[in-house]
Amino acid sequence: MIVLLGVLVVVIGFATKRNPLLVVGVAGIATGLLGGLSPGKVLAAFGDGFAGSRAVTIFAITLPVIGLLERYGLQEQARNLIARFATLTTGRFLALYLGLRQIGAAVGLTNVFGHAQTVRPLAVPMAEGAAERKYGELPDRTREKVRAFSASADNVGLFFGEDVFLAVGSILLITGFVNTTYGTHLEPLQLALWAIPTALCAFVVHGWRLLRLDRQLERELLTAHVHNTAAAEAAQ
C-alpha cells in the first residue's frame, strides 16, 4: 500500500497548484524508492521515460512554420474567412470541427488535426471570429472560454473517434493483452465495432454542449453589452 503515497503526492501537488514538473519529479522519485528501486534505477527510469516518449513532443516541429504564418496574418485571415459564413456561429463551427476530427480519427488520420497544427492557427481564430462578428471585441473571460472549448472539441473528437479505427494503439493493446494473457482470439474489428455506440454518444453529448455555447455567449455578452450601454448613458 505504501507505494500509493506517490499517487497522494500527485493529487496534493496538483490540488495545491505546485509546479507540475516538480510534483511529478518528487512523486516519481518517492514511488520508485518506496517500490524498492535503487537511486540509480530511478535515474535510469527518468532517462528511459524521456527517451521513449519523445513522440509526444514532436509537434514542436510544426511551430516554426505556424509562427511564420502567424507573423504574416494567418489568424487574421482565418477570422476574415469565417466572417463570410454568417450562419456559422462559434458553437456550430466547433461542432463541425468535432465531427471532422472524429471522422478523421476513425479512418486513422490522428495526426492530421491537432492542437499545434490546426487548433491554434485555424480553429481558435475562426471560433473567436464567429463570435466577434456578432458581438464585437470579446472580453478576456469569453475568449478563454471559447479557446478552452476549442481544445475540448479536438480532444473529444480524437478520443472517441480513434477507437473505431482497427490499427490504433488502444485496440491493438486490448487484443494483444487478452490474446496473450487469456489465450483468446479477439479480432480488432469486433472491438472497433463496439466503439461505435460510445462514439455516437460523444458526438451527440459534446456537440450539444458546443451548440449550447452559443446561447451562453449570447447571455454573457448581451447582458455585458446592455450593462455597458446603461453605464454609458448613466454617465451622460
Binding site: 507505494v3 500509493l4 506517490g6 509546479n19 514538473l21 516538480l22 516519481g28 514511488t31 518506496l34 517500490g35 528501486l37 535515474l43 535510469a44 527510469a45 527518468f46 532517462g47 528511459d48 521515460g49 524521456f50 527517451a51 516518449s53 519523445r54 513532443t57 514532436i58 509537434f59 514542436a60 516541429i61 510544426t62 516554426p64 512554420v65 509562427g67 504564418l69 507573423r71 504574416y72 496574418g73 494567418l74 487574421e76 485571415q77 486513422g108 492542437h115 499545434a116 497544427q117 490546426t118 487548433v119 491554434r120 492557427p121 478563454e144 472560454k145 479557446r147 478552452a148 479536438d154 477507437d163 488502444s170 479477439l186 463496439w194 455506440p197 460510445t198 454518444c201 460523444a202 453529448v205
Partner: protein, 322 residues
C-alpha cells in the same frame, strides 16, 4: 528508409539552435536559465537515440531530466519580448495575401494524410519508404518541413532565422508545459514497476460485492476512469482493471461478450483522460499553446462531457454486453 529518429534529431537540433538564440536574447531577464532548459531538452532528444537502442546509459539523461525539471520548476526560465509584427501589419498582410495564407497551413495535414494513406504502402527495393509503425509521426514531421519550404517560397521569406525566431517565441510561451508530458510518461513507467497498478486493482476487487452484475460493471468502468486519471493514460489502467475485474468477473463469471466489455471499458478510461492534468499533452499543453490564463481551462470544458459519457459507457455495457 525514412526513420523516426531523424525527426527526433531535427527537433533536438532546432531546440539547440533556439536555445542559442535564447541565451543571446537580452530582452529575457532569465536568458541563461531559459537557454539551459531548452538546450538540455534538445541535447536530450539527440542523446535519447542511443538510449532507446541501449548503446548509451540512461542515468545521465535521467540526471539531465531532473535538472530541467528544477530549472523550470524553481522559476529559472522566462521569456523575451517576441520579435514579431504588429497587429496592423498582420491585418495589412492578411488583406494582401488573402486565402493564400492557408496553403502552407493546410500543407501539414495534407502531407500527413498522404503519408498515412499512400506513402505508407510504398517501398523501394523491398524496404518501406517510411519506418513501419511510425508513419503518422513521420507524416507530421515531413508535413511540417514541406509546409515550411512552401511557406517561405510563397511569402518570399529568405531568412530561415525568421521562422526559427517565431517558433522560439512559441516555445518560450509554453515553457515547462512542453516537458510535462514526457515527465508524466516516466511517472507512469515508475508507477508500473513499483506495483501501484496491483494495489489499485486490489482496492477495486475489495470494494466489489459478489453476485451483482450491475455493480461489477460500475466498478470496472469507474475503476478504469479513476485509474486513468491517476496514471494519465488508459493504456496503463487497462491491463490492471481487466485482470482485477473485467476478465474474471464480467467475462468469466457473468459470461459477458469479451469484445463489448473490453472495448467499452477502454472508452470509460478515455473519459478519465479528459479530466486529468496527468494527461498533460491533451489538457495542459493546449492551455499553454492557446495562451489560456487558467491551465485547467480545457479540463473544465471537458468535465461535464466526460461525466455523461462515463454514464453512457456504463449503460451501454450493462445493456448490450450480457
Amino acid at each position: 528508409m525514412i526513420k523516426a529518429e531523424w525527426f527526433y534529431w531535427l527537433v533536438g537540433l532546432s531546440f539547440l539552435v533556439m536555445a542559442s538564440q535564447m541565451v543571446t536574447d537580452r530582452s529575457n531577464p532569465k536568458r541563461y536559465g531559459t537557454g539551459a532548459f531548452w538546450g538540455l531538452i534538445g541535447a536530450g532528444f539527440i542523446y535519447s537515440s542511443w538510449v532507446v537502442t541501449k548503446q548509451a546509459p540512461a542515468e545521465p539523461l535521467g540526471v539531465a531530466v531532473l535538472v530541467m525539471a528544477c530549472l523550470a520548476g524553481f522559476g529559472f526560465t522566462g521569456r523575451g519580448t517576441p520579435r514579431t509584427t504588429t497587429p496592423e501589419q498582420r491585418t495589412a498582410s492578411a488583406a494582401k495575401l488573402g486565402n493564400k495564407l492557408f496553403v502552407p497551413a493546410l500543407t501539414i495535414p495534407a502531407v500527413a494524410m498522404a503519408c498515412a494513406i499512400g506513402v505508407k504502402h510504398l517501398s523501394i527495393g523491398g524496404e518501406p519508404v517510411l519506418q513501419e509503425g511510425s508513419e503518422t509521426i513521420l507524416g507530421l514531421g515531413i508535413g511540417a518541413v514541406v509546409a515550411l519550404v512552401v511557406g517561405m517560397i510563397m511569402l518570399r521569406e529568405k531568412r530561415i532565422s525568421v521562422p526559427v525566431q517565431s517558433g522560439r517565441s512559441m516555445l518560450e510561451a509554453m515553457g515547462w508545459a512542453m516537458l510535462l508530458p514526457q515527465m508524466l510518461a516516466t511517472l507512469g513507467a515508475i508507477f508500473q514497476v513499483s506495483g501501484v497498478g496491483d494495489q489499485v486493482g486490489k482496492i477495486a476487487t475489495s470494494v466489489l460485492p459478489e453476485g451483482s452484475l450491475y455493480i461489477a460493471v460500475v466498478v470496472y468502468c469507474v475503476g478504469m476512469f479513476v485509474f486513468t486519471m491517476i496514471m494519465g493514460n488508459a493504456f496503463a489502467a487497462f491491463p490492471v482493471m481487466t485482470a482485477a475485474v473485467g476478465w474474471p468477473v464480467l467475462i468469466g463469471h457473468f459470461d459477458g461478450n469479451p469484445a463489448a466489455v473490453l472495448a467499452i471499458g477502454m472508452l470509460a478510461g478515455f473519459c478519465g483522460t479528459l479530466v486529468t492534468p496527468m494527461a498533460a499533452n491533451f489538457n495542459i499543453v493546449p492551455a499553454a499553446l492557446l495562451e489560456l490564463k487558467d491551465q485547467y481551462g480545457p479540463i473544465k470544458a471537458q468535465l461535464p462531457t466526460a461525466g455523461v459519457l462515463l454514464g453512457c459507457n456504463i449503460l451501454i455495457m450493462a445493456l448490450f454486453a450480457f
